[in-house]
Amino acid sequence: MKKIYDIIVIGAGSIGLPTAYNLAKAGMKVLVLETEPSPGQGNNKKAIGGVRATHSDFGKINICLRSIEILKTWQEDKGEDIGWLSNGYSYPAYNEKDAKELQDLMQIQQNFGLNIKWLSPDEYSEIVPGILKEGLQGSTYSPEDGSCSPLLVSAAYFEHCYKVGVEFHFQECVTGFDISAGKINKVFTNKGIYSCAKVVNSAGSYAREIGQLANLDLPVFPENHEAGITEPVERFFGPMVIDMRLAPGSANFYFYQNNEGQIVFCITPDPPVAGIDNRSTSVFLPMCSKRMLTIYPRLCNLKVRRTWRGQYPMTPDGFPVVGIMGEVNNLVNAVGMCGQGFMLGPGMGELITRICLESTTDKDLKILESFDPYRQFTSQEAFK
């Protein structure tokens, strides 16, 4: 059986869903191929739900500013309650060096148009009551960042995809491409063969494998991260708290209280745990709880409800890889979101759509410089 589509999107996740929605809304005939049985069942649902424009580069700041705009007004615009909360992000500093680095970065961020300010320890204690004050130098605070439910967002995008005519094939796995003259002509799956004009690779942790099917070497390497969620309690603190310090066994860790009142938390293992393994380990809770309770003892009586493990599809420098690679000129890669696919998704979906429709703006081109597939990957994202 052979069907013809304008665009085939690989992956119904954080990037694939907004991309498919925007493409179909623009009149494209879109097919989404997804190996999981439902949308958002890969790493989208593993995201903890934070959405920040607090990044260190023009590209991500601008994509995420757009994501925030879309998500913040979603209920008003499209109807579904996705649990949006403008609770802000904060990066507290517990030593002078970190404080200086964060404050220096703030200058750049403010220049890129980000609403971010520095709070004194007392001011910070007002929005995070009970936070450890010993050694606290102050904290950044970006009040317009926020959070919402990745599960509800993907369900909402899925719903709207249907309304604009996107076709979905679940439990279907891409097995190869028919490529000639630098173009993908056909997509092979375990269930069928499809013809299309363009293909979007938004396969998340499997982006590298999809690239290989087109003879591309995409530098995307998944790393395992674990996260957890507690029981809900009455709201008692405001922003996402991100502690950037290194500790034995871990790099940064972060937590926030979502709109249900639950505290969602996550830690970055150090050294990283490469590969794809969704099974929980015994290491996560003893390590993460120790760090959380050290800076925030008030959390001690909160009951942990669930934990899970997912992947950050990492790139060598911590920035996504977005765009066409010369060898296959109708394959648009939107990969290597480095664990930020959920917050980048809504804005990224619009950008990918403009790339596919060949209607990118000057600003888009400037944004894409951050994500250039041909960059040297030598710099390091400050907020990786």
């Binding site: 958002g40 001690c300 934990t307």
Partner: protein, 707 residues
């Protein structure tokens, strides 16, 4: 009401009497326990030292423990097993599960109204290193299967850690006041469950290689081959070479309008409150489900002095043993077969139940509705194996076995036997024994012990009307034979000698009464023609002594099916204190002597329906599928109609399964709904199971040495 001095922060001076305690029980001793006082929403109440908050509240007649944060509906006890969080209260400022938290002197307990407020404890914490424990075998669950396996491992001196989340070993055996079925040699048939539990625990204690951790809950088998266990409130990591999952089963729930009212719960919760905690959570009970669990719960209720208004079973015949349903009917509890619950009625908690007859497709027949006043509904509609520890161990790559209900739902007699098989098998594997250590006949026996009831036969009673002999009112094939092994003259045999066949009397009865006393079904009477051939004496075994009987009392006798045979006077009552049993004798005309099977104790008016049935305007769509997150049938059905058959997606959209219990109740209900909507099982994607098994405070986890 008693005037008591109380601290200034307590508003009320009234002390409620803790009237809902069981003061007499035919089987269970009522221990003397020290009294302590605690405060409930400002009111001073009495409790027994060490009892759970939930039981203390119920003893004081309180059944609503708070209101749900989503819809404000009342919440109370549901699982009584630490698995859900419906019984949550605020104890000394912290939200806790009242069924798992012991009350303490002067504890301030408040109802949980909406979301709890986290206490503002801001003192820096000190962390301790976590303890890591290595063992050869970890047995999760100290019930009949786990204990039986531990004994076999102990015999072979294999280092074994046996954990159980309760304060005593025995699992559900500690709640089983009735005598057990099965065979005497393999499963202590004829002995009461509580005694079997005690005996097995005593056996386990003999072996030095077995370490027992009580009050210890396994939270997950992690991929790094480590098991997290919360022991007495301290988190520990166990590294076992093998795991045996004997964690038992969990109860199924039902969808019906009003299923989120307070005072609706499962038989396990009920038996825990009544038989372990000796409190009376209800005055008037209605039971849904005629399996052994529901039938036995009805019997236990009568022994606890609770009125049993009725029992409804959807199938035309009860699925439980006929001897159980016969016994319940004879005592005066009507059993409505081919009936189902239509709705539970009440403002916040159950005030009445409406049942209706159902057709072959389980649809209610209009005009057959009946409403009964009751304050509690017990749902006993079957069990599902608690298989997650097995699956987690397999994922982690730890060799694992399961036994008892965690493997397959069956009677405890079967659990003990397949626990023994699992123990022997694991021991052999650890010792590197090549050949299979399990004799073939053990597997055959295991199969036999878990047999469901078979055919129902006719009476095979002797024609003669002279001498003395037993009447075996045990007409259904069930795996049980203690009457055959106890008879000193070898006069009772099963039809073909097998465990499952019905027993038949043939031989020379000497009237010792041993068969009466041992029969778990209380299904044997003795007819004695020796003194008066025309008016023989019938002996009936009786163990509901909280409804006292004495010589001279008049009782309505009935036959096996509870058909009345007339009112007769008790001619003698003989006590068997060791067996907690009495033998009650009647002199009756010979025409009915062989038919007499029991006598009624519960007044008929207990079971009279209300004049007009209450039929709710609500449709079945308003029933809840997820009690934790208050997700209704209609919300889920709407998604199914859209083509969504992945439980993970249903969860993502509705939050069904995201609550504290971790989809332990709703998963089965949603699968049932998918089935009802005609979705083939192979198209249904099950929920992804994740840690933790139960909610645990964050402060339990930090490891001082964490890297």
């Amino acid at each position: 009401m008693v005037e008591v001095a109380c601290p200034s922060y307590v508003r009320s001076f009234t002390l409620l009497a803790d009237n809902n305690r069981i003061a007499i029980h035919p089987i269970l001793p009522i221990p003397e326990r020290e009294e302590v006082y605690f405060y409930w929403n400002g009111q001073k109440l009495k409790a027994k030292r060490g009892e759970m908050i939930a039981s203390a509240l119920i003893a004081n007649g309180i059944s609503i423990f708070g209101h749900h944060h989503k819809d404000g509906s009342a919440q109370g006890i549901f699982c009584a097993n630490g698995q859900c969080s419906q019984c949550s209260v605020i104890a000394n400022g912290i939200a806790v599960k009242s069924c798992m938290t012991a009350v303490s002197e002067n504890m301030i307990v408040q109802s949980l109204e909406g979301l709890p407020v986290l206490p503002t404890i801001d003192t820096p914490l000190n962390f301790e290193p976590l303890e890591y424990v290595k063992t050869d075998v970890l047995i999760i669950g100290g019930g009949p299967a786990g204990l039986s396996a531990a004994i076999e491992l102990g015999k072979q001196n294999i280092p074994t850690l046996l954990i159980d989340d309760k304060y005593a070993l025995g699992g559900k055996l500690v709640l089983q006041t009735h005598k057990f079925f099965g065979s005497q040699e393999d499963s202590s048939a004829g002995t009461r469950g509580i005694e079997i539990g005690r005996n097995l625990a005593a056996d386990v204690a003999k072996y030095n290689s077995i370490e027992v951790w009580l009050n210890s809950t396994a939270v997950f088998v992690f991929s790094d081959k480590k098991v997290g266990i919360l022991k007495d409130g301290i988190y520990k990591i166990v590294e076992p070479k093998r795991i045996l999952n004997t964690a038992g089963a969990r109860e199924k729930f039902l969808r019906f309008p009003g299923n989120n009212l307070a005072r609706i719960y499962g038989a396990g919760a009920f038996q825990t409150l009544v038989n372990r905690d000796l409190v009376r959570p209800t005055q008037r009970l209605f039971i849904i489900g005629g399996g052994n669990v529901g039938l036995i719960a009805g019997y236990h209720s009568l022994q606890a002095g609770i009125e049993v208004v009725g029992l409804a079973e959807a199938m035309p015949v009860c699925g439980g043993y006929k001897v159980h349903s016969d016994k319940l009917k004879r005592l005066g509890v009507p059993i409505y077969t081919s009936h189902s619950i239509l709705c539970a009625n009440g403002k916040e908690a159950v005030e009445s139940i409406t049942i209706a007859e159902i057709d072959k497709n389980f649809q209610p027949l209009p005009g057959t509705e009946k409403t009964f006043a009751c304050d509690t509904i017990l749902i006993a509609v079957g069990l599902n194996p608690l298989s997650e520890f097995t699956l987690e161990a397999m994922e982690a790559g730890i060799p694992v076995e399961a036994a008892g209900d965690a493997l397959e739902i069956a009677e405890a007699s079967s659990a003990m036997f397949n626990g023994k098989i699992a123990g022997v098998k694991i021991a052999a594997e650890l010792k590197g024994t090549r050949e299979n250590p399990i004799p073939e006949e053990w597997y055959a026996k295991a199969e036999e012990l878990k047999s469901p009831p078979g055919k129902t036969k006719n009476y095979q009673t002797p024609e003669k009307e002279e001498g003395i002999f037993p009447i075996l009112h045990c007409l259904q094939e069930i795996p049980c034979n203690p009457c055959t092994t106890v008879c000193p003259t070898n006069s009772i045999k099963t039809e073909d000698g097998s465990l499952i066949a019905v027993p038949v009397y043939q031989g020379s009865c000497i009237g010792c009464g041993k068969c009466l006393l041992i029969c778990p079904g209380l299904a044997i009477t003795l007819v004695d023609y020796r003194k008066d051939k025309e008016n023989p004496t019938v002996s009936i075994v009786y163990e509901v002594s909280n409804y006292p009987v004495k010589t001279g009392d008049k009782k309505i006798l009935n036959d096996i099916d509870a058909n009345e045979l007339g009112e007769y006077i008790i001619t003698a009552v003989k006590d068997f204190p060791k067996q907690h049993t009495q033998i009650v004798k009647f002199q009756v005309p010979k025409a009915i002597a062989k038919k007499v099977a029991g006598f009624r104790i519960q007044n008929k008016n207990v079971s009279t329906p209300l004049g007009n049935p209450v039929i709710l305007e609500k449709t079945s769509d308003e029933a809840m599928v997820c009690l934790c997150e208050r997700v209704s049938v209609s919300q889920v059905r709407e998604l199914i109609k859209k083509g969504i058959t992945d439980l993970n997606q249903i969860k993502a959209i509705t939050r069904a399964g995201m609550g504290p219990c971790g989809s332990k109740t709703c998963e089965v209900l949603i699968k049932g709904l998918l089935r009802a909507e005609g979705i083939p099982e192979k198209e249904v994607v099950p929920n992804t199971k994740r840690p933790l098994f139960i909610e645990i405070p964050l402060e339990k986890f930090p490891d001082e040495r964490a890297k």
